[in-house]
Every structure is written in structure tokens, then in C-alpha cells.
């Protein structure tokens, strides 16, 4: 059995707004990733994907606050650590993050090489400059990036190159977990593919031990990650292998998410483009029952009042719904028929 | 719109600035109602009368008097007459005859005089003291004695035939009720070098300066707005031309142009309005720049494109599709222009290029005259300090409003 790299147990975190209201953006989330595996997290904007990423890294910066649960990276529990400790000993070295806006992630007036130096020195102040240089050069070469980029500023690089450089910089210390937060959403299709190929290659070469890939486009995750998890309103609604989740989503929300996006990938069915009606709930006052119930076409009256726990319904698959998978599959078949 | 205004009035900085500015406006508008008359009227003959209440000496002689025996009257009188250099000299003498210097307090008149009475000896010859100095002390001692004696003064009226007749004798314990003196004048800020009432002049000058600021601000904003709109919206050649001139006038300091133009216009032609106009004509570049950059960001918005496709004319697009979106920036630019216009007038006046002095007072002119008559060197703070404070407060209130608006419209700056 492979070693578990990341284990998250019942993690709950909240935002405190300017008006001192609590917003529970991550609500009792549990997940685990084994060495060499990758997990995709999908959901609409504001469903708590990015917050989950920050929370499991232990990156608590106001207005984000830790409430309860654990986040364990390779045996180290981040939830009990002080922010300074997390900053010094976890971020960048154990867990690396590629932010959404990778285009502007690089300091405009610092050369890439100098920035890499800053990153490494933050965790290992004693490292010599030459040592760092050599290491950066070697890594760039292995990732097929031009070494000249080290002596350039971000403005001198093209968009796709900037993105790849950011990925290379983020993983320079070979972190155990890489969290890629929509790393490709601002890129054209060709660059997207390059980025995804690069992430996969890094997994193969062992530069990263596991990966979490966050996106609002569920179908994009197929061929990228091993497993997929769909989030809605701060909670997990369905989880399964990438193939099952893309071709056979069962939860009404996962299915809606799958059908609301048109991606010209091989193998995805040419479905009608159907938007999910309504908007995600206001997490200051989440619905009392199933959080998706107000937008769910298949909701029963009791769904508005009863909250359902997440449960397994097949090997490696779990979901959060009052119905049975068989029943819903039948309904879907009838509708498509 | 209503919501925006409510939001603006929630910004504490804007409200603070607004309150100060309104208070200044009220002072400008209301003070002349209580104190009517020409602010340039020279009521004083001398220069820089100190602030305070002036009671007619002539009237008080004939006003009914009361005798009040107040215990510290004599020493108060001495204290007010005894000059600072005399006190210092007395201390010097006391030290010379062996009084420890820490026992001497020149500010405490009574203690000083007591020491003096105890230790002064006309016949003593302290070591190293010249005859001239000894004579000085002799005279000082005599005048101290006579002041304390409480001798009576006689008021003599010169009759028509030239004969003098005593009409009143004033004892040291005679008092007049201020209300019984028919002529008195309170000058809260004294008079200036021309003998004008500074407070009255200040109200009038602040008004003129605000008007100058408003005219200059309006002229600069209109020019800047027009050029910025055209340059930003039309782009291309028009943009190049307008920006060429804007850039030139940004680097060439506007106050240099201001000096050249003002000097050339000549003292006789320079009314407050002309000065304001010239200031406005030399300070539009900032507004042009900021309006232009705002318009460029709006130029390709959907609603503007739609309007263009519907065949609306240039004027209509600028007025209905662009102007409303940049209105907040224009207002902010206008506020800053007003405040820098007021400052520009003051600086010009200090160079002797301000408006004609005989027509209206301005804050700059008041400052200029105070400086020319060395008010700052001879201690007449009332002639210049209120002016500086007024300019600072006007400018401060306008900038505070501007900062408040900025925080409302640029949320990242909010606290």
C-alpha cells in the first residue's frame, strides 16, 4: 500500500467579514492523497475550492481563520502550527501553491534567478549563491525551460513562459504536495496543454510527490488527475476516479457542472450545454438542509430541511445526497432517452 | 446617485473636510454681516496694533469713575511697565552684589522688587561696575520708586484762548466701568501695517481667494476635461497632438509661465479675476492627463460601442456615455485645482505679482504686506499667522474631502 502524503480530516475554516460576520467557506472537509497520486477539485467560483487549498496549507491570513479539523502533510499536522512556523517550514518546501493569477505572480522588478534565490534562502539561509544557481539551472534544463530566463525579468517572458516559470519556481524545493489553483484558466488551449504536460512530467520525475489541481471546468480534469472531487458551498458533494466523475457523474450538481461546459476533448459526450439554474447560496446563511436543494431539479421536499452526510456508494466513490445512485441514473437515462 | 452620496458622507475624512470648508465659508459670508464696512478701510494710523479691546482714552477721562482699592494694583502696574531688559539688568546687579542666581526669578515681579529693595544701595560700588552702569541703576531705582508712589495725574484741557484748565485729576485707584466708555473697539486680530482690521480683512481676503480658486479651478477643469475627453476618446492624431502639448506644459513649470504672464500683463491690468484666469490657463495639464487615462479605459466598453453603432454623435457619446462614468474623477481633480489655485495666488502675491492691492484683499496680498513690513521679525503674529492658517485650512479641508472621495471610489485604499 502506497504511503499517504496528505490527509485532511474534518477541516473547517471560516472568513470573518468587515462586519464581523462568519462565513464558513470550508465545512468539515476530509480527503487524502497517496504518494504519486493527484486529485482534482472542481466547483463553481466561490464554492470554497481556493479556500480549501489555503486552509489545508495552514495559510491562515486574516480574514481567514482556522476552526477545527486536521491537515497532515507527510506526518506533520499543519493545523496546530503557528503562522510563522507554517511560513518558515511548510510553505514552499512541503506544500507549494501556484496561484490563480500566475500572470502577475512574479515580482516585476526582480530577476527570476534572484527570486529563486529568495525562495530557497527563506528555507535554507546557509545555501551558497553558486549552489542555488546550479540547482536552478539544472531544474530548468530538466523541465525544458530556457536557462536564460533566470537572468530575465517577468515582463521579458511571454504569457505561457511566465506560467511555466512560475510552476518551476514553485516546485524548486521539490515539495510533497503541489496545489495548482486554476493554473491554466487564463491561457490559450495550446499553452494549457503545455502546462498540463509539464505538471504530469513533474509528477513522473518525482519533483512533486502529489498534486491537487483546482478548476471550475470539471471536464478539464479528465486525463490530468487520478481522482476528482466536486465541491459545493464549502462541502464535498461527490468524489470518485477521474474517469467515473467525467463520464458518469451521479450527483445532480456534478452532472450539472459537467454539462454546463463545452470542452472539445475526445471522449466527452456531445451533450447539450445546460447551465445550472440559480446561484450558489450565501454562506453567511447557508440553507438549513442540503445546500444544493434550492437549485436541485430532483430535490424532494425534505431535502430543504435535512442535511445529509457524505457516504460511500461504490468502491472509491462517495457522495452527499438523499436519493440512491441507481434511482438518479434511471431518471437521467429517461431524460436523455 | 443617492447611494453614492450617502456613501461619501459615510467617509469620516470627507465629512471632516466638508465641515471645515463649510465653517470657513460661513465665516466668509457671515462675518461681514456682523461687521459691515470696507475691509480695506484704514482705521489705525500706526502699524500693527496688537489684538485686544481698545477703549477710548479721551472718553474714559470724563467717564464717571469709582474708587477701588485693589491690593495688587500697584505691583500689577509695575509689572506691566517694567521692561524685560530692565528685569535682566536688575538680576545682573543682584548677582553682582552676591545674591545667589537661583534665588532670582525675573518673571516674578513682586519677589524681584523685594530683593531689589533689600539689596540695592546707591552708594555701593560693586567690583567691575562702571560709572555709567551705576548711573543707570540709580535712574532705574528712581523710576521704580516714583511708579510705586501712586502720585496723581492731572488732565488739562486746552481752552479756546489758549489757557489751560484742569478738568480732572486721576488717582491711582480710580476705575472706569468699561460699559460707561462710549467708544471702544475690539480688534480680535489687531491691525495690519496699514492700520486695517485684520479679522475683517481676513474674512474678505479668504472670500476673494476662494473665488480665485474656484475660477482658476473651473477654467483648468473645463480645459482639462475637454482636452482629456477628446484626446482619450478620439485617440490617434488628435491624441498625439493634445498629449504633445500636455506633456510640454507638464514639464515646464506652470509657475514660471504664471510669472511671465502676470508680469507682462502689468500691475494695472491685474485684477483678482485676471489672476484667477491666468492661473487656470496654466494648470490644466493634470486634469487632462487623468481624464484621458480614464476615458481610454472606458472607450471600448460595451455601452460606448453600442452608442457608437447606433450612430450617436461625438458630443452625445462624450456627454451621456463617458462623462457620467468619470464624473467622480473630474470632481476630485476640480477640488485639487481649487486648492492649488489658492496657493498659486498666494505665491504670486509674495513675488509682488498678485492682484492690484487697492481693490480687494487676498490672502496672498495680506501675506505679502505682512512680510514687506517684517511682521514676522517684530513679533506681530496676528498679521501673518491667521493668513497661513487660513490658507492651510482651506487647502487641508479640500484635500481631506478629496482623500475621502478617493477612498470611496477606490476601495483598496479603504481602512
Amino acid at each position: 500500500m502506497a504511503k499517504t502524503i496528505l490527509e485532511v480530516r474534518e477541516l473547517t475554516t471560516k472568513y470573518v467579514t468587515r462586519f464581523r460576520e462568519d462565513v464558513y467557506a470550508v465545512d468539515h472537509v476530509s480527503l487524502s492523497i497517496e504518494e504519486g497520486k493527484s486529485l482534482g477539485i472542481a466547483g463553481e467560483s466561490g464554492c470554497g475550492k481556493s479556500t480549501l487549498a489555503l486552509s489545508l496549507m495552514g495559510y491562515y491570513f486574516p480574514p481567514l481563520h482556522y476552526m477545527s479539523g486536521d491537515s497532515i502533510v507527510d506526518g506533520k499536522n499543519l493545523s496546530g502550527m503557528s503562522p510563522d512556523d507554517v511560513r518558515k517550514n511548510v510553505l514552499g518546501s512541503d506544500v507549494a501553491y501556484i496561484p490563480q493569477a500566475a500572470m502577475n505572480a512574479l515580482n516585476p522588478i526582480r530577476k527570476i534567478g534572484a527570486f529563486i534565490e529568495d525562495v530557497i534562502r527563506a528555507h535554507d539561509p546557509a545555501r551558497s549563491r553558486q549552489d542555488i544557481r546550479d540547482m536552478a539551472r539544472k531544474r530548468f534544463e530538466e523541465l525544458h525551460l530556457p536557462q536564460e530566463a533566470l537572468d530575465k525579468h517577468a515582463v521579458e517572458l511571454s504569457g505561457g513562459m511566465k506560467q511555466r516559470v512560475v510552476i518551476a519556481v514553485s516546485t524548486i524545493l521539490s515539495p510533497k504536495v503541489l496545489i495548482a489553483d486554476e493554473p491554466s484558466s487564463a491561457l490559450d488551449v495550446t499553452s494549457q496543454k503545455v502546462v498540463i504536460r509539464m505538471l504530469k512530467e513533474m509528477m513522473e520525475k518525482g519533483f512533486i510527490k502529489s498534486m491537487i489541481f483546482i478548476t471550475h471546468e470539471l471536464p478539464l480534469l479528465y486525463n490530468v488527475t487520478d481522482d476528482i472531487m466536486v465541491m459545493y458551498a464549502g462541502q464535498i458533494v461527490e468524489r470518485g476516479s477521474a474517469k467515473e466523475m467525467v463520464f458518469d457523474p451521479v450527483h445532480p450538481y456534478s452532472r450539472g457542472l459537467m454539462r454546463s461546459i463545452l470542452v472539445p476533448e475526445d471522449g466527452t459526450r456531445a451533450n447539450k450545454l445546460i447551465a445550472i439554474p440559480g446561484t450558489p447560496p450565501n454562506l453567511k446563511k447557508p440553507p438549513a438542509g442540503c445546500r444544493f436543494a434550492p437549485r436541485c431539479r430532483y430535490a424532494m421536499p425534505e431535502c430543504q430541511f435535512n442535511a445529509y452526510p457524505i457516504r460511500d456508494f461504490a468502491p472509491g466513490r462517495s457522495w452527499r445526497c438523499a436519493r440512491t445512485p441507481e434511482h438518479l441514473k434511471e431518471v437521467y437515462a429517461r431524460e436523455d432517452g | 446617485m443617492k447611494n453614492t452620496i450617502r456613501q461619501i458622507f459615510h467617509s469620516s475624512k470627507f465629512v471632516a473636510g466638508f465641515v471645515i470648508f463649510v465653517a470657513i465659508l460661513l465665516f466668509i459670508l457671515l462675518y461681514p454681516l456682523f461687521q459691515p464696512g470696507n475691509p480695506l478701510e484704514m482705521i489705525g494710523v500706526g502699524t500693527f496694533a496688537e489684538p485686544g479691546t481698545y477703549v477710548s482714552l479721551y472718553d474714559s477721562v470724563t467717564a464717571p469713575s469709582e474708587t477701588l482699592n485693589l491690593p495688587d494694583a500697584a505691583s500689577n502696574r509695575l509689572a506691566s511697565v517694567l521692561k524685560e531688559e530692565d528685569r535682566a539688568k536688575m538680576a545682573e546687579y543682584l548677582v553682582a552684589v552676591g545674591v545667589p542666581s537661583e534665588e532670582i526669578d525675573v518673571a516674578d515681579t513682586e519677589a524681584l522688587l523685594a530683593l531689589w529693595e533689600k539689596h540695592y544701595d546707591e552708594t555701593a560700588r560693586p567690583a567691575g561696575m562702571t560709572k555709567a552702569t551705576r548711573n543707570y541703576y540709580k535712574r532705574l531705582n528712581q523710576s521704580l520708586n516714583s511708579m510705586g508712589s501712586g502720585s496723581e495725574l492731572s488732565v488739562v484741557e486746552q481752552g479756546e484762548g489758549g489757557e489751560a484748565s484742569t478738568i480732572a485729576t486721576i488717582g491711582s485707584s480710580d476705575y472706569v466701568n468699561v460699559r460707561k466708555v462710549p467708544n471702544r473697539k475690539t480688534l480680535l486680530l489687531g491691525t495690519d501695517n496699514f492700520g486695517r482690521d485684520v479679522l475683517k480683512e481676513l474674512a474678505s481676503a479668504a472670500g476673494t481667494s476662494v473665488v480665485i480658486g474656484l475660477i482658476a479651478g473651473t477654467v483648468a477643469t473645463l480645459i482639462g476635461l475637454l482636452l482629456g475627453l477628446l484626446s482619450g476618446y478620439l485617440g490617434g492624431f488628435v491624441d498625439d497632438i493634445i498629449m504633445f502639448f500636455t506633456n510640454i506644459f507638464t514639464v515646464i513649470p506652470s509657475f514660471v509661465l504664471l510669472i511671465l504672464i502676470s508680469y507682462s500683463i502689468g500691475q494695472d491690468q491685474r485684477g483678482a479675476g485676471v489672476v484667477a484666469l491666468v492661473i487656470g490657463l496654466t494648470s490644466w495639464t493634470w486634469t487632462t492627463r487623468s481624464v484621458r487615462s480614464q476615458v481610454i479605459s472606458l472607450r471600448n466598453r460595451d455601452h460606448v460601442n453600442l452608442s457608437r453603432l447606433s450612430g450617436h454623435g461625438l458630443f452625445r457619446i462624450l456627454m451621456t456615455d463617458i462623462l457620467p462614468y468619470i464624473a467622480s474623477y473630474v470632481v476630485m481633480a476640480f477640488i485639487l485645482q481649487v486648492s492649488s489655485g489658492i496657493l498659486a495666488e498666494a505665491q504670486l502675491s509674495l513675488l509682488g505679482l498678485g492682484p492690484k492691492t487697492t481693490e480687494v484683499p487676498t490672502l496672498g496680498l495680506m501675506m505679502n504686506w505682512a512680510m514687506l513690513y517684517s511682521a514676522h521679525l517684530n513679533g506681530s503674529w496676528w498679521a501673518y499667522f491667521p493668513v497661513i492658517l487660513m490658507i492651510t485650512l482651506i487647502s487641508f479641508s479640500l484635500n481631506l474631502m478629496n482623500t475621502g472621495l478617493d477612498q470611496v471610489f477606490n476601495p483598496t485604499l479603504r481602512d
Binding site: 517550514n89 514552499g92 | 514639464v251 484635500n399
Partner: protein
Amino acid sequence: MKGYWKYFRKKIIWFLITFVAAVLLNFVLPRLMPNDPVAAITGKMAQGMTDATASQRIYEQYAEEFGTNKPMIEQFFIFVKNLFRGDLGTSFSQYPRKVSDIIASSIWWTIALQLPAIIVGWLIGNVLGALAAYVRKGFDKVLLPLSIFISNIPAFGMAVIMLVLFAVRLKVAPTSGGYNYDMIPNFSWKFVQSVIAHYQLPFWSIVLVSIGGQAIGMRSMSIYELNADYVKYARFLGIRDSKIVGYVFRNAMLPQITGLAMSIGTMVGGALVAEIIFSYPGLGSTMLSAISGGDYPLISATTLIITLMVLVISFLLDIIYGFIDPRVKAAQFD
């Protein structure tokens, strides 16, 4: 380096254009006015109304030097030719001194006073502004309004307040001039001491006035930069706050340099008036005496020199900016 040369060339061309424009304006503006001082001078001469032969001689000399009786275009060329020879005419009020002499004796006072004062004020202001952005809480409530207040005290007002406080009341500094009035400029230690003593008040009042505005600008810039994506990213990689503050400070400084280049004219204007308050022997006082003496050649020359100084400083700032901001280099290839 290639991109930088392109930028450099552009800036030089722009500097030349503004210089020509400044000279042109300096020549044309007075002549466009209804009460043209140049015409007034020649008019007076033609009417022969001057009683003293001395002033008659000045006017004649002026008319000859600048050809004021010739057509405008020709006058302009004479003006430019004289300018390039460094001949700015003869002063009316200090006849027969050459204007260039008078300027030469006052310009160094102004440069030595204002340049360091503005730079020091700018530096202190930026450091305070960055600190304010970083600390935020207490600053915004109390110190921000206070620094807005101080920055709104006009330069001359600050000069008067400093003068009254330190020279008249506390008597720790002299009230006026650039050195003791009974001294003759030389390089003795005593003279230098006197110069330093006279330098303090004008220097600090200019510094104080410039701090406030710079601090406020830097504060907004830094707050903007603190929210930038690169700051968040650096944090995600575990980089310490002290390092990140350095990033933010340098990034926020850049617009402040451009800001300084654009506002240097206004600052110099205020500082010149402050010079007048202290009767500092610089260009400000020269200008004041020229204006009160109706000395047109001197006014014209002073304004031109001040413009030139401002142009050179903003040009230099542009050049420095090009060196430190890599975006400038990259932008040249677009």
C-alpha cells in the same frame, strides 16, 4: 541594453523639444501680452521721456542687444543667438551688471539648497509612507489626517513658522541671508560655519513641506502593492515578511520617482518663495528684486534658468527610472 538606448534616445529628443518650447514660450509670452514689457521699454526710449541719461543708455543698449525695433522673427534669432553665447543681456536694476553674472552668483545657492532638501524630503516621506501602509491601523486614524494637514501648509507658511520659532523666538538660527552680512564669501572655516548655520532653516522647512505629500502618495502606492499578486505568491512560497516589505517598497518607489519628475516644477516654485522669506541669496530672491525693480531682462533670464533646471532634473529622473524599472526596457520592443 538595446532597449535602454532606445528609451534614452527618446528621452533626449523629448528633452530637446521641451527645451525649445521653453525658450520659445519665454520669448513669445511677454510679447503677446497687451502690456508687453519689451514694447514698453522701447516705447519709453522712443518718446525720449526718460529724464536720466543713464536709463536712456540702458534702453539703447537693450534695444541693440535684442533688436527690439526689428521684426519679431529677427528678434527671436538674436535672442537665441545671444542665449547660446550665454549673453542674457544687461540688468536694469543693477546696471551695468550682466544678467548672466547675477544669475551665476545666485544659482548655486538655490541648487545647493533645494536639490538636497527635495531629495531628503522625498526619501523621508517615502520611508514614512511605506511604514504607514504597513502598520495601517493607528496611522490612518491620526497620522494620515495630520500629514495631510502638514502637507497643506504652503512652503512659505512653513518657512515663516520655522523662522519665527527658531530664529526669532528661540534664537538658535539666524533670521535671514545665506551667510553673516558682515562677511565676504571666502573659504575660511568661519565662513563655512556661517553658511551652514544659515542653511538649516530654509533646508528643513523645504524638507518638512515635501515630506507630507510624498508620504501620502507612497502610502497609497504601498497599499496598492501590498495587495498585488506577487506579494501573495511570495508569501505562498514561505518568503519572510521583511523580504516582502523590501519588494513592496521598491515597487512602490518606482511610481514615486515618476511622480517626483512630474511635480518637481511645483516643488521648486514653492521652495523659491520659501527662499524669499529667508532672504536666501538664491534665484528666488533674485527674482523678487527683479520683479520689484521692473528689471525685465533679469526676470526673463531667471524664469528661463529655473525652467532649464526643472527640465534637466526631470530628464535625469527619467534616465534613472529607465535604469531601475525593467519594464521600461521591455516596453521599447512593443
